[in-house]
């Protein structure tokens, strides 16, 4: 009984705050009507749908192999769980959801081919799921050429920067610029003013270098050294000698297999007298904090998008989501405790599918010729409410940048867990929009 009530409450909050007038309101009523009828009998919703239209086909561009394979695996599990749940509450606009997955090998060349295949051979309604930014750059323009809506789950700044096209959205995962701006303020104010940044020598790293530097100016901090490390590096000790003696905080965003070595060598280099550490959980997605060599991280802080360890502060929606995707309270797979989740990224898949659901139901989308309406409807969204559909937290959404903005978490490593010590507000990460996709033609 309680669960059904929760679902009802959450479905009500899924209805978006839309500014679009006539079309939106009409769709809203229609959508509400459909959802309303399902609220009355969620299980009958499927029977109701079967009588109506054909399935909504969503193409999932997955990093099943290549350097993104770890994320791809969890993205796929989360996607399947989300679809299972959505179909159990009546699908999208009463139509069952069908996911068609293709592997892009985390390769931009194949990304474009996959978009092509999903759009023209499988004839999906929408494509979503890319994470790695170079693959996004290689694939999204093709989606624009093929004129198919493309939902990115990447945390890259590409969408909001205006580099892409009007068919591309990133509605349910925040971008690095917002993340860095939001948490580095906390870092400068709580850990120390003199910061050394250690970052990988490519785009993801440059984002951190640039936006953290901008945040330093804003919060009276000082970047005393910027150390770039080539992605193929396997040993880091030679870089540590370059860290200035007056460093209060080491801000590190190393990603890739070398992270374990990075942390271990950092510990070997400094010993017990070390500066504060501030990192991003990207470094340790899929990695158990108690892994050998990571003890040096004890007492250090990490940015998280969604706290890996369950706590009493979790909302009902968050708990429902964690259970649905098969993750236990320590962030590992329920069926294999060694299989740690990419918990700060994968929620993006879950929420994006719900965002698609909301956009379809509000716009009255039936088939490809309704793309323009769907896009305009989504551009009218101002945000999403926290709940089962959006368990990471409430979000603001900008129709101009096609990007969402949300809360970020700062967690501290202690007792073999990550414990949240700070939660930023949505406003902490906002910045002036640098583009306006609504002005582009479709």
């Amino acid at each position: 009984m309680v669960k059904k009530d929760l679902e009802k409450v959450d479905q009500a909050s899924e209805l978006n705050l839309s500014r679009r007038n006539v079309l939106g309101a009409g769709a809203l009523v229609a959508g509400a009507g459909i959802i309303g009828s399902q609220m009355i009998d969620p299980i009958a919703g499927i029977a109701h749908a079967a009588g109506s239209d054909a399935p909504i086909k969503i193409g999932f561009q997955a990093h099943r192999t290549g350097i993104g394979a770890l994320y791809g695996r969890w993205y796929e599990r989360t996607t399947n769980a989300a679809v299972k749940h959505i179909n159990s509450i009546g699908g999208i606009a009463g139509r069952p959801v069908e996911i068609i997955t293709e592997d892009d090998g985390t390769d931009p060349k194949r990304g474009a081919d996959v978009v092509e295949k999903l759009a023209t051979q499988h004839k999906v309604d929408f494509v979503f799921g890319t994470l790695f930014s170079h693959v996004v750059m290689g694939s999204a323009p093709r989606a624009g050429e093929l004129k198919i809506p493309y939902f990115v789950v990447s945390e890259g700044y590409h969408v909001a920067s205006g580099a892409l096209n009007r068919y591309v959205f990133q509605p349910c995962i925040t971008d690095v610029r917002a993340q860095i701006s939001a948490v580095s303020g906390w870092m400068f104010n709580n850990l120390g003013k003199n910061v050394t940044i250690i970052y990988p020598d490519y785009a993801f790293g440059y984002n951190h270098r640039d936006y953290a530097s901008a945040a330093a100016e804003k919060h009276g901090g000082k970047i005393v050294a910027k150390i770039a490390i080539p992605p193929t590096e396997s040993s880091y000790t030679r870089y540590f000698v370059k860290i200035p003696k007056n460093t209060d905080v080491i801000y590190h965003v190393m990603v890739g297999p070398g992270v374990l070595t990075f942390v271990r060598e950092l510990g070997e280099h400094f010993g017990p007298n070390h500066p504060q550490l501030f990192g991003f959980i990207d470094s340790l997605e899929g990695v158990n904090i108690s892994s050998p060599g990571l003890d040096f991280l004890d007492g250090s802080h990490f940015w998280e998008a969604m706290p890996r360890y369950a706590s009493a502060a979790d909302s009902a929606g968050s708990r429902f989501y964690r259970n649905a995707v098969g993750v236990d309270n320590s962030g590992a797979s329920k069926s294999d405790s060694k299989d740690v989740a990419a918990y700060s990224h994968m929620f993006g898949c879950w929420e994006t599918l719900f965002a698609i659901k909301e956009a379809v139901e509000q716009s009255g989308y039936k088939s490809k010729k309704d793309y323009a309406t769907l896009i305009e409807t989504m551009e009218g969204f101002t945000g999403f409410n926290e709940g089962i559909a959006h368990p990471q937290g409430s979000k603001a959404f900008s129709g101009k940048t096609h990007q969402c903005y949300g809360q970020q978490f700062v967690s501290k490593v202690g007792n073999g867990k990550l414990n949240v010590v700070h939660k930023t507000s949505i406003a902490d990460g906002m910045y002036e929009p640098e583009t306006d996709y609504t002005k582009q033609s479709l």
Partner: protein
């Protein structure tokens, strides 16, 4: 006899090209697009084959040439607002210079040493794109979608991403490469290149300046690879370091050897088969790499001359 071979070859290849031309009116959208891409990549393989199949030099760094043409064309359009033709020419010129400089250097080595020098230079080129990332956009790459003008033919405007434009431009590229390769192979220059492949020291003894011939082959192979890269940028819009990585150097080797090194049209079959193999298998299992690896091993054991090579040996002795 050779004249007859030349005619048979041109007819055979002409037939295949005609088939490809007709195919565009029958193929469903997805395959139409796939074949366009296959033709551009096959052009890269045909260019590669010129060095491997005919001169006998195996390079493990050809992605350098492909990427050089691609980046020259792409950056030219992005920063200098070159036209499509201008970008192609710029890409060709840039790659010509690079292959010439590289050849002057690298051809002092041969065999395995040559292989590794090409590998290293390929890696350096890749690293330099990353190093100058403020200018080249580094690993992320960039898209030309918003920077390309429109193609104007007979007063009608077309986007470069238009499926018909893509298909036919790719076909024209492939046709040109096949024609040029065939003509060269039947010319005296081609005969000397084959002689170098078969027995370099004897050819040298006969009085030929082997070094210049090898340089010619390398520059031709490199420049054509670059033009293929430039065309790829134009038609498929994305320019990124993935085209400069070692895997993109390994690909033409596979395509060429699978299709038949030392045959002009072999690379086309090799490229097409590999492309569809990956495509079909990744629909069945997420571990397509495993199947590709197994297929490669089996292929090279049973068909070491590649498909066209084996066909030539058995039935089509006149194939160039």
């Amino acid at each position: 006899m050779r004249k007859k071979s030349l005619i048979y070859s041109l007819l055979f290849q002409g037939g295949i090209l005609l088939l490809l031309f007709i195919l565009q009116f029958i193929l469903p959208t997805y395959h139409h697009s796939s074949v366009s891409k296959i033709m551009v990549l096959a052009s890269y393989a045909v260019a590669y084959n010129f060095l491997l199949g005919y001169t006998g030099l195996m390079s493990l760094g050809h992605a350098m040439f492909f990427a050089a043409g691609m980046y020259a064309a792409g950056l030219g359009i992005y920063y200098l607002e070159l036209s499509a033709l201008g970008a192609l020419l710029f890409g060709a010129a840039f790659t010509l210079v690079i292959s010439l400089l590289f050849g002057l250097f690298a051809l002092r080595t041969s065999g395995v040493s040559f292989l590794i020098v090409t590998l290293m230079f390929g890696q350096t080129f890749y690293l330099s794109i990353l190093y100058f990332n403020e200018f080249t956009f580094g690993q992320d790459g960039f898209s030309l979608a918003k920077h390309l003008g429109k193609l104007v033919i007979f007063n009608k405007e077309y986007l470069y991403s238009n499926p018909d434009v893509r298909y036919n431009f790719a076909l024209i590229l492939l046709t040109a490469y096949l024609l040029i390769s065939t003509l060269i192979m039947f010319s005296p220059v081609g005969r000397i290149l084959i002689a170098i492949r078969e027995n370099e020291s004897r050819t040298q003894l006969l009085g030929y300046n082997v070094y210049y011939y090898k340089l010619f082959a390398l520059v031709l192979s490199g420049t054509f690879s670059g033009i293929a890269g430039a065309m790829h940028a134009l038609l498929f819009t994305y320019v990124g370091t993935t085209f400069a990585e070692i895997h993109h150097s390994i690909s033409p080797i596979l395509w060429t050897l699978l299709g038949g090194a030392g045959t002009v049209i072999g690379p086309l079959f090799g490229t097409g088969i590999m492309y569809y193999l990956v495509d079909i298998i990744s629909g069945i299992t997420s571990n397509y790499q495993l199947v590709v690896g197994a297929v490669l091993i089996l292929m090279i054991i049973w068909f070491p001359m590649g498909i066209m090579g084996t066909l030539r040996q058995k039935w089509m002795k006149w194939l160039p």
